[in-house]
């Protein structure tokens, strides 16, 4: 018995010692409850490379520009900048005025713990930091070979022993702060996408004091200028953000799309942001508990897990009666994404055999794939530019010759065998995962190929192995996709530029001089109808060469409770919690509704 008593006492001590409580909150505080589907890796914007960390960090950090919350097509508006940039006639110099009176959140890294005013030099420091090779940022691609003198600065950092040895006062010609509120950027050649990237989280300003004070632990101590600041981060469990009391005056937009007024998105026009006091983000990686939490009203909004789709959406694609009874709302919106089965164009069997690549294209039943694996939450892709983009060609379906057609696939295989000089060898499709869903997808594709007489082996592998194989060009076919970083189709086109071949983003190792010529031309062109035409032309060249089976473009379904207001889906939606409003009375009513057993 003594043994048991000791054991029980130990348990009680351990249990009592596991203090996991969030900070005590005022009962009148308005709290937004959300769930994160993956763990947060770090909150240092310079090194952020994953969506979940960006979702959190974007509530804390701000960029020079942001997307207008309501207007569509997506439009950039100033955030930390006073106005849109002044661009020199040659398109090589950008002058950006910074807003006055913007302060970093209070933090012990500053003198007396009081956040200081944001200056243009904070941007210069943040971007030089990304260039510092010893910092090993995931985001150097943004500035690589773009800004005058920044590549030379990166070269210099190679000679430093560690990140802390780098002299950030070293001059970079293309990055200068002419005064505290003026930033001058000189680019090597016209860079029309720069403003989109200045709205991209990694380009957010970082206070040097914070970097010096926290060192490598800066990932745990985000110090930004945004509407919220980090209160508590229990890694792998939850994150709590609270309103940044020193946040400047920013107001809810007064303009939007035509339907926004009727949809209630303009009710809060002109109100000061943010409209909530706290955000509690719980990390829930499994679908069942996330769904249960949403249905219990413990989280305010959620996607729809595949297994619960029929519970939420009826045959007509509308909310089921049960959802309507619970006053749950549905929003459907297009993702800026395209998913594909890519071909390694350097593979001996595939590269010189276009009929084979076309046959593979004709063999895949994309509609069935979308229905089976996404509950129809997708659109068949005919090219790689998603319908959300301005450059999307709505007539592309009629121009593509390789839609699902098993008979045509069989004919093409005969042609392919003639080129190959005999029976085609076994092909291999690399899949990015080993879980049940990936295996189901693999089996489906295998069956599609088998139907037309193609022998394809499905090779399931974990993500690091998959990535490594792609970067080393050692896959034959692979399943992958791309979600746009900004609403410009150039972001997709760069995936086919020959100079970006693996280990760069061109995983197809596709090379076509005609395409390259057009890409080089459009990469420096400002937005214009002519550029859109060239985008479409470039896309058609790729489709004709067939370096991939373009499977689908994503469509997202989100559900939210009626107490959550201003929940307008946004394809580039980071840092949007500031716009949310919560009706706590309605939230309390939901609890009563649940008690009645509805």
């Amino acid at each position: 018995m003594k043994f048991l008593t000791i054991l029980f006492t130990t348990v009680l001590v351990i249990v009592a010692g596991c203090k996991g409580k969030a900070s005590k909150s005022d009962s009148n505080e308005v709290v937004l409850h959300s769930a994160l589907a993956a763990k947060v890796r770090g909150l240092d914007p310079g090194d952020i490379g994953d969506t979940t960390s960006s979702l959190v960090a974007s509530q804390i950090f701000e960029c020079l520009y942001q997307y207008h919350y309501l207007k569509r097509p997506y439009e950039l508006v100033p955030q930390l900048a006073e106005d849109m940039p002044q661009v020199s006639e040659d398109g090589l110099t950008y002058t950006i005025k910074i807003k006055k009176g913007v302060y970093f959140a209070d933090d012990q890294c500053f003198e007396n713990g009081k956040g200081r005013e944001l200056k243009a030099t904070d941007f210069v420091f943040a971007w030089k930091r990304i260039a510092n090779i010893k910092y090993i940022s995931k985001n150097w691609w943004i500035f690589d070979n773009k800004i005058v003198g920044l590549d030379e600065f990166r070269e210099y950092t190679k000679s430093c022993k560690k990140a802390a040895d780098v002299d950030y006062s070293r001059k970079v010609e293309g990055l200068a702060a002419s005064d505290d509120y003026t930033l001058i950027i000189k680019v090597k050649k016209p860079w029309p996408q720069i403003t989109y990237l200045l709205a991209h989280l990694p380009t957010a300003p970082v206070a040097k004091e914070a970097v010096d004070y926290y060192g490598r632990d800066i990932i745990n101590h985000p110090v930004g200028t945004g509407p919220f600041k980090l209160q508590k981060w229990h890694r792998g469990s939850y994150i709590e953000l609270v309103k940044n009391r020193s946040f400047r005056e920013e107001f809810y937009p007064s303009e939007g799309e035509d339907a926004d007024r009727a949809d209630g998105y303009l009710t809060d026009a002109g109100k000061r942001l943010p409209m909530i006091d706290r955000i509690l983000m719980t990390i829930v990686q499994e679908d069942p508990p996330r769904w249960f939490l949403f249905m219990q009203g413990k989280i305010d909004a959620s996607g729809i897990p595949k297994d619960n789709f029929n519970e939420a959406i009826d045959q007509r694609g509308k909310l089921t009666a049960q959802m309507q009874k619970r006053n749950i709302h549905l929003r459907i919106f297009r993702d800026p994404s395209t998913y594909w089965l890519g071909f390694n164009m350097e593979d001996k069997t595939l590269c010189g055999n276009k009929p084979l690549r076309q046959a593979i294209n004709c063999a895949v039943d994309k509609e069935k794939y979308i229905k089976l694996f996404t509950n129809n939450r997708g659109e068949v892709a005919y090219g790689f530019i998603p319908p959300l983009m301005k450059a999307y060609d709505s007539s592309i379906k009629d121009k593509v010759k390789t839609t699902y057609n098993p008979d045509k696939a069989r004919q093409l295989i005969k042609e392919a065998e003639n080129i190959y000089g005999g029976k085609l060898p076994k092909l291999t499709l690399a899949m990015p995962g080993t879980d049940a869903v990936i295996r189901q997808r693999g089996e489906f594709l295998k069956r599609c190929f088998k139907t037309v007489g193609l022998n394809v082996e499905i090779d399931y592998m974990d993500w690091p192995t998959f990535q490594n194989k792609i970067k080393t060009k050692s896959v034959q076919m692979f399943m992958l996709g791309w979600i746009a970083d900004y609403p410009d189709a150039e972001n997709f086109l760069q995936l086919f530029y020959s100079k970006n071949a693996s280990p760069g983003p061109n995983n197809f190792n596709y090379s076509n001089p005609d395409f390259d010529r057009i890409y080089e031309q459009i990469a420096v062109m400002p937005d214009s109808p002519e550029r859109t035409k060239l985008y479409r032309k470039a896309e058609r060249i790729v489709i004709e060469d067939c370096p991939a089976v373009f499977l689908m473009h994503g469509v997202a379904y989100v559900l939210y409770h009626d107490w959550l207001y201003n929940y307008k889906p946004h394809a580039f939606g980071y840092g949007l919690s500031k716009y949310r409003r919560i009706d706590t009375a309605k939230r309390a009513d939901y609890k009563k509704l649940l008690k009645t057993g509805e």
């Binding site: 048991l4 054991l7 130990t10 348990v11 351990i14 249990v15 009592a16 010692g17 596991c18 996991g20 409580k21 969030a22 763990k39 890796r41 770090g42 090194d47 490379g49 090779i133 010893k134 090993i136 995931k138 985001n139 150097w140 691609w141 690589d144 190679k158 490598r216 990932i219 745990n220 508590k232 229990h234 890694r235 792998g236 469990s237 939850y238 709590e240 509690l280 719980t282 990390i283 829930v284 990686q285 499994e286 069942p288 508990p289 249960f292 939490l293 249905m295 219990q296 413990k298 974990d462 993500w463 690091p464 192995t465 990535q467 490594n468 970067k471 970006n500 280990p503 760069g504 983003p505």
Partner: protein, 313 residues
Amino acid sequence: MTAYIIRRLLYTIPIVFGVLLITFVLFNLVGGDVTDQIAGKAASKETREEIRQEYGWDKPLFLSWDSQFFNYLKNAVTFDFGRSWEDRELIIDKIKRGAGPSLSLTIPMFIGTVVISISLALIVAFLRGTIIDALAVLLCVAGMSIPFLSFILFGQYFLAFKWGLFPVFFRPDLSPPQYVALPVLIGIAAGLGGNLRFYRTVMLDEMRNDYVRTAFAKGLSTKRVLFKHVLKNSMIPIITQVVLAIPFLFLGSLLLERFFGIPGLGYLMIEAIGARDFQVINAMTYIGAILFVIFNLITDICYCLVDPRITLE
């Protein structure tokens, strides 16, 4: 006994060295290169080289004082596991933070399973051949056949979501007993089948001995026979089972932690395996190996304590 303990502790060194060597070799043979994952999309060759240099992956694997394996050994001995490549956090901080939640889940689960299964095993063994015994065996086999995940999904759906008896998931405003209650219950229910069956067999072997019949013939009470004699004489297999399970408590419960949002070491381990975070896997394996060797020694000492016929030489 002291000499035995010292000798056994010295054996720890080659055992742990072997574990470290095997882990290192296996990881380098089949682990793959995670440089691209760290580098992010569109990373240049020089960035990848810098990463390899930063983590020491550019050094030779063996045969040098500055080899990857030697540094790995050095770090293990000093418990300086470095930083996780995935999120650049200190690994020792991760382990310290995860140990509490993991143990708060696994210790009650372990104690509950052991106490309930041994108690039930005694009763079932005593009632051998009756309908209760047959039913218990049937339930044990059924319990062992149902996947652990089904227990979790069933418990979470009915007990937490539908009937609201427990919270569905961890919330910061809940106290640890509140959020570990359901996973502990599920863990006990899922573990009961195998354990009860094992202990029943152990008890039955013991009950068939002559001394049990003699004890009953002498008029001793059932309680006294079962707890004073049968249980005591069954201690050797029970100790083997129980003490050797203790090091695994440290590793947490992978599925329960993930489904109930308990930020423990099981969660940490599964994340590390998924992300090929070798530094974290190495640290956990190393600590696990040390604990296993220590608890093996404790098992031997316990044998000696419960059975005077056993001496440690």
